[in-house]
Subunit: 258 residues, 2 copies
Amino acid sequence: LLANAKSVEIVLVSPRNPLNIGAVARAMANFGFEHLTVVAPYEPHWQEARSAVGAESLLHNARRTESLAEAVAGCTLVAGTGTLTYRKAEQRVVSLPALVPILQPELELGRVALVFGPEKHGLTREDLSWCHLLLEIPTDPRQPSMNLGQAVAVCLYELASRSLPAQLDHPGEINLKGSNGADQKGKRAPSANLDLLACVIEETMSAAEYSPRAMQPANRHDLRLLLRRLAPSEHDTRRILGLFRRILWRLQRSKQGE
Amino acid sequence: LLANAKSVEIVLVSPRNPLNIGAVARAMANFGFEHLTVVAPYEPHWQEARSAVGAESLLHNARRTESLAEAVAGCTLVAGTGTLTYRKAEQRVVSLPALVPILQPELELGRVALVFGPEKHGLTREDLSWCHLLLEIPTDPRQPSMNLGQAVAVCLYELASRSLPAQLDHPGEINLKGSNGADQKGKRAPSANLDLLACVIEETMSAAEYSPRAMQPANRHDLRLLLRRLAPSEHDTRRILGLFRRILWRLQRSKQGE
């Protein structure tokens, strides 16, 4: 089983079927994972699911949040699951059998989220903009869409059975950009810090009248993705934030002076 | 996906829950497997399961047999799934991450069955006596027992994603005893041939008054396991069968002469 399983957060976005929530909890218990977060669940089904056999304590300790941003706020690497059959990826795509070498160094430094979408349509483009990578389970193109409980089971089996002893070297080429090994200064910023930075940058863009108001949602989406691509360290995130706060202050001050 | 997926038979012994049967069919479709056999299903649930979404043709083409012996009759390697938590294995135990190198050479020559037991208690000791090996999914000892649909998904993901190109050499040390590579003469005997041989040997034991009548069920069980351990080739199975038929004829003839 995975030594750092405590550093993994399983996130379900708006699951509908209580049986699936129960199945997810059961798979987590089977493979030694503990931390479940459910985003905006359908209330009656969520209550029903919490009575699932064999995973009672896990479901009772599950976190519940209103947004995905909140669910992954403390995570330094967020992997959204999905298939490319119906979409074009806006972030790096990783096939499940290649995931462990990427996740493992991250688990020693930070906190990883695996995010699963609702049963019907999976994660939206908006949901995925909080993700550093899109995790794809290799399936038959004639039937690519997996059942939620089975998809989680397969991902957790892969993590639990393919992880290496913790002290191995991390091959640099498979690290995500921005992660530089065990150096604490290089620790990737958690998702909430990137959201805070994005907020200040957006305010700055607005103050600078960077683009028309109608473009704001698209800009916000692109900015979110950009920050995940850059994957700045906590240290660098603070520096960039300081810079933008200064710029914003200047812009607002010059406006008052007009 | 697995090149020889057509040579894999998924066998469910007495599944109870129609949702699970549907989930198994869906996982098979996801990972490109086609051949499903259901042994002695509970009739109403079996009919209900056949209407599962997304796997209609697979479920309609599913075979249905009354016994496990019949279900695996044409298979040259039978892997039963289960956990060692509640039992002592009577056959070789293989952990799922180690399965592909064992299965792959077999798939080029013969036919492989993966056998899954009923939801409540799994495969019985009797069921497992038709198996060459016991396949174990590595799980947390605190919650070892997996949901049927999830167990199948995890096994098929492993087979589909870890299989190597077909033309690779087969490392000898991981072959089961009795299999000697691509030599047609060394092709392992299908399960039905072993059952036939076991029948004639048992008759011979009885004619020879080998042991008291009360021992017959235990002897039958041990004999079945012994033949799977020996894993004789088709050619050798025929030779041994010929030998026992001759001995039996002699015994019966000498009895008539008494």
